[in-house]
Every structure is written in structure tokens, then in C-alpha cells.
């Protein structure tokens, strides 16, 4: 019944970046305890990209909050040996009173990076997300896609082994989202981060992940998993991506239909 973060210096070669074991979560509801997540067990291997896919009410965001340590599971345990995971939200969640660069530097500062090293590190991270020159820009001066890239750079500034992403591209237009998919794949391959990515977009899940985990709704349970063998870099319009998406969508619709049958 605990979420444990190991200290960075204790990091050892482990078989998983996150280990979720028999996790259940319930909230007090109008009719007693409402079970949101039911006995979820899931490992994310080091360097692996996993997407959690599900319809509304499958508790995918709840699960991500539990892994991030923002909330505690009712039962079961979650281990993240690589330290406190980084988390990206659907909204950029950048602080509007700071510039893009200072947002990243705040993450570095809270991680304990010495003052003199912060500026250089922030600029290196901005370069990684291809926003060289955006250091002094205010958040409102950036486009939606640029904001999410700064948010990604800020998440990377935490230097965690595990990056959690909660529908980070859902609010973007299709063209920008497509470009950010390419960008995320590139950065993931460069940094060899482990990623746990939540989405309700089947094509996005297949486009990005090495493994897609389908959650059923109310309560959230693991319904099925797919290993995605399509070589990267992929494109969202690839025939193989489309084909697998059709199969997964059928399964997802089946899960949703069950709820209309009482």
C-alpha cells in the first residue's frame, strides 16, 4: 500500500522502470465506495514505451496519478526504482509568471542542480525539443505545440528514468500532434527513457508504443495487451498502423458496448 521513490544514487540495474502490482483504487461515491481501478498489474521495462488505452471512466488518469505519487492506491503497491517520475499533462501546466527557460530552471533547481549549471542545462533541453532561442519567451507568446515541447523539456529536466504522459497531445490540432509524435519518438529513442503514455486515441497509441495496454471501464481492469512490432519511425497513416488500429478499436468498442447492456 505504498508508493516508493528510490534516491537517485541508489539506482541499480533493474528489470523494470515501474512495477504496478495488484493495484486497486476506490473513492467514496454516492453509493458507497466506488471501485475505479481493479487489480492492475503492469511492468514497464527500462526504455520501454507503453500506452494505456481506454474509454472514459477506465481510470487511466487515476493510474497515472498513482504512479506519479500524487495519490495513494487503496490496495497493492507501485515501485518506481528510477526516482520520482516526471509527469506531463494534457494542459501544458507551465507557470505563466516564468519564462520558458525559467520554467525549466525551476525543475532543475527543485532537483538540486547548482545555480551555475542551470542556464546551460535549460538551453540544452530547449535545443533537444528544438526550441533554441525560446529561453526568454513568455508562455503566452508560444503556440500550443511549442508550449507542450517546453513542458516536455521541463519534464526531462527532472532527469527521471520514467516519463508519464497524460494525453499530452489531445488538445493540439492534427498537424501539430503529428509532428509532436515524430518528435516524441525521436527524443524517446535518443534518451532511452521509459514512457507510460495515456490516451483514448487508438491510432496515437499504435503510432507511438512498443506495447499497447487496453483498459476496460468501470472499474478499470487490464483487458488485453498488444506488442507492436511495426518498426520505428512509423507514421500514423502507415498501413500496418491502420490495420492494427482497426483490430484494437473493435476490441475497445466491445468493451464499451458491455456497459450499455444492463
Amino acid at each position: 500500500m505504498a508508493t516508493t521513490f528510490a534516491k537517485a544514487e541508489d539506482r541499480v540495474a533493474v528489470s523494470h522502470a515501474a512495477r504496478i502490482e495488484h493495484v486497486s483504487k476506490s473513492y467514496p461515491g454516492p453509493t458507497g465506495q466506488q471501485l475505479v481501478l481493479d487489480d492492475i498489474s503492469l511492468d514497464v521495462a527500462p526504455g520501454e514505451f507503453v500506452t494505456l488505452l481506454g474509454a472514459s471512466g477506465c481510470g487511466k488518469s487515476t493510474l497515472l496519478n498513482l504512479v506519479a505519487g500524487l495519490d495513494r492506491p487503496t490496495a497493492g503497491s507501485i515501485e518506481t526504482p528510477g526516482g520520482r517520475p516526471a509527469l506531463m499533462f494534457q494542459e501544458h501546466a507551465l507557470f505563466p509568471w516564468l519564462t520558458a527557460g525559467k520554467n525549466i530552471e525551476l525543475a532543475l533547481r527543485l532537483r538540486g542542480v547548482p545555480k551555475n549549471d542551470r542556464r546551460g542545462e535549460a538551453e540544452r533541453l530547449l535545443e533537444l525539443v528544438r526550441l533554441t532561442g525560446a529561453y526568454g519567451k513568455r508562455v503566452h507568446e508560444l503556440s500550443g505545440g511549442m508550449r507542450q515541447r517546453v513542458a516536455l523539456a521541463r519534464a526531462l529536466a527532472q532527469d527521471s528514468d520514467l516519463l508519464l504522459m497524460d494525453e499530452p497531445f489531445a488538445a493540439l490540432d492534427a498537424i501539430t500532434r503529428d509532428v509532436l509524435h515524430d518528435e516524441l519518438t525521436r527524443i524517446w529513442r535518443e534518451t532511452r527513457l521509459s514512457v507510460l503514455f495515456v490516451t483514448h486515441n487508438v491510432r496515437e497509441a499504435v503510432r507511438l508504443a512498443e506495447r499497447v495496454v487496453l483498459l476496460s471501464s468501470r472499474p478499470g481492469r487490464i483487458a488485453r495487451e498488444w506488442e507492436i512490432g511495426i518498426p520505428q519511425p512509423r507514421r500514423i497513416e502507415d498501413a500496418a498502423v491502420a490495420e492494427l488500429s482497426v483490430e484494437i478499436t473493435e476490441e475497445l468498442r466491445g468493451e464499451i458496448r458491455r456497459h450499455g447492456q444492463h
Binding site: 500524487l70 505563466p96 508562455v139
Partner: protein
């Protein structure tokens, strides 16, 4: 591109992506433009000047039309004469300074008390339940009500003036901070917590900067309440030992049935209130909002 022949396909693809991204950024980037001075003058400065001019014209017309006795409605020129007389006697600046220095000092004290009080109410549940409703209720209590007890408690002196200012302004400042903290988006708090900003570090790096706009709005209102409270105190509690402030000037005008003097006092009270807001609080608020992109262009 000729260079692609000599490089690998992967590199070409990355270059494509970089170019694509640069293009998107250029198309999507938000253009932030500062309004040119001419436009500011035309849209912000001219309309109030026209309004003031109209009021003066109507006022003068009413005097010419003799709608009432001249001792009840003096012409604008008579008020202007009062002003120049005070200026030539050298008393104008003294009177202004007496009131303004009192109000500002009182405001600074209100700030020193209201800020920690607001933080306490915002963050400690018991304190909030205990005094939160009283604090917002106090805002609707006219501070003139405090003059009577303040005179009896403290006597006719400056301390009594400061007591009235504090009772008027502290609730506004504290309430502004409370609503500022309440309006911090929960997303910022979650983002802060994932970055490791918890406890005091969270308060310093996330809660306080996020609550700043609400706090500033509270300060603005706190200033208005300070000024109003002081004027109430000065009008009611006039005594030679207290020195001549704007409130006493108004009261003296009433005692001497000097309508131009009364008009002048009212105008000066109004002008000082507006000037402090325009010179100190509005620029501060606008700077904070502009930096955050919250200043809506109409």
C-alpha cells in the same frame, strides 16, 4: 536538396522534421504587439478628458442659468480661485501631504498585518472557518462606524486615524490574498508537486506567485478603503492638534459656509484617490498581468 544524396536517409528525415517544426512554429507563434503611444492617447486618455470637459461646461451653464443660489453652486472659476489662493498661501501641499502621508503609512501597516492574516486564513482550515466569514463581512461595514469607538479608545490623535485605516483596509487586503490563493489552478499545484515543490517550497515557488494577481487586486481595494476610512476619520474628528488634512479642509468649508472650499476639498480627495491608483497600483497590476499574457486587448 542536393546534400541528401551524401547523407543517410535518417538524417534527411530528421532535417525534414526540424524544418517542418520550424515552419509550424513560425505560423503558430503568437504575435505580441504593444499599443503605439498615439493609439493609447486617442483611446485611453482622450475620452476621460472629453468627459471632464463636458462636466465643466454643464456646470458653468447651470451657474449661468442661475438654477440655484451662488453660495450653493459656485462657478468653476471660484473653485479655481480657492485652489490658487491655497497654492499662493503655501498651504496646498501641506494639506495634501498631511492626508496622503497618513493614508500611505496606514496602508503600509495594513499591508503588514493583512498579508500574514490572509495567508493564515487561506492555509489554516480552522482559522478560515473561525474568522473567514467575519473578515469578508467586515468589508461591507463602513469604516466611518469605527471612528466613534476609536476616538473614545485612543483620543483625538494620529493613532486613532491609523486605527480607523487599519480596520478599513486590513480585511480587504487579507480577503484579496485569500481569494488569490483559492483561485490558484489545481493543475499548477499538481505540476509543482511532480516537480518536487511541496510544503514551504511549494508555497514559495508555486502558490505565492500564482496568487499574486488576486493579491494585487486586494491591495488596490485596500488602498481605496484606506483613503475612504481616513477621510471619514478626518471629517468627523477634527481638532487643531491633528493638523489640517483634506477631511478637515472639507469640514472647515462647511463651518464657514465656503462652498468653493468644499468643492475644492471634494475634488482634491477624488484626485488623490485616483492619482495613487493610477500611479502605483494600476501600473503594478498591468505589469504583472501583461507578463502573464492575461491583459486582454479589446
Amino acid at each position: 536538396m542536393g546534400s541528401t544524396e551524401t547523407t543517410t536517409e535518417a538524417v534527411a528525415k530528421t532535417d525534414d522534421l526540424a524544418g517542418l517544426e520550424a515552419g509550424l512554429d513560425a505560423l503558430d507563434a503568437v504575435q505580441v504587439r504593444r499599443t503605439p503611444v498615439r493609439e493609447v492617447l486617442l483611446r485611453k486618455v482622450l475620452p476621460p478628458l472629453v468627459a471632464v470637459g463636458l462636466v465643466l461646461v454643464v456646470w458653468q451653464l447651470l451657474v449661468w442659468a442661475r438654477v440655484t443660489d451662488e453660495y450653493k453652486l459656485p462657478p468653476p472659476a471660484a473653485v479655481w480661485d480657492s485652489l490658487t489662493t491655497m497654492w499662493l498661501e503655501g498651504t496646498l501641499l501641506d494639506v495634501l501631504w498631511t492626508s496622503v502621508s497618513r493614508a500611505l503609512l496606514g496602508f503600509v501597516m495594513a499591508l503588514a498585518i493583512g498579508t500574514p492574516l490572509g495567508l493564515l486564513v487561506a492555509r489554516v482550515r480552522f482559522v478560515r472557518a473561525a474568522i473567514g466569514p467575519i473578515l469578508s463581512g467586515l468589508q461591507s461595514l463602513p469604516s466611518v462606524a469605527w471612528v466613534a469607538p476609536a476616538v473614545l479608545w485612543l483620543g483625538l490623535n494620529d493613532s486613532m486615524m491609523y486605527a480607523v485605516i487599519l480596520l478599513g483596509a486590513v480585511p480587504s487586503i487579507a480577503n484579496g490574498l485569500v481569494s488569490g490563493v483559492d483561485q490558484v489552478p489545481p493543475l499548477f499545484l499538481r505540476a509543482g508537486r511532480t516537480l518536487g515543490a511541496t510544503g514551504l517550497r511549494g508555497a514559495w515557488h508555486v502558490v505565492m506567485p500564482a496568487a499574486l494577481p488576486g493579491y494585487l487586486a486586494g491591495l488596490k481595494q485596500g488602498w481605496a478603503f484606506s483613503w475612504r476610512s481616513l477621510m471619514a476619520a478626518e471629517i468627523i474628528a477634527s481638532s487643531p492638534e491633528l493638523g489640517l488634512g483634506l477631511g478637515q479642509l472639507l469640514e472647515n468649508g462647511r463651518n464657514n459656509i465656503d462652498m468653493p472650499g468644499i468643492f475644492l476639498a471634494i475634488l482634491l480627495i477624488l484626485i488623490v484617490g485616483i492619482a495613487i491608483d493610477l500611479l502605483i497600483f494600476s501600473p503594478l497590476e498591468r505589469a504583472v498581468l501583461r507578463r502573464r499574457g492575461l491583459l486582454v486587448k479589446s
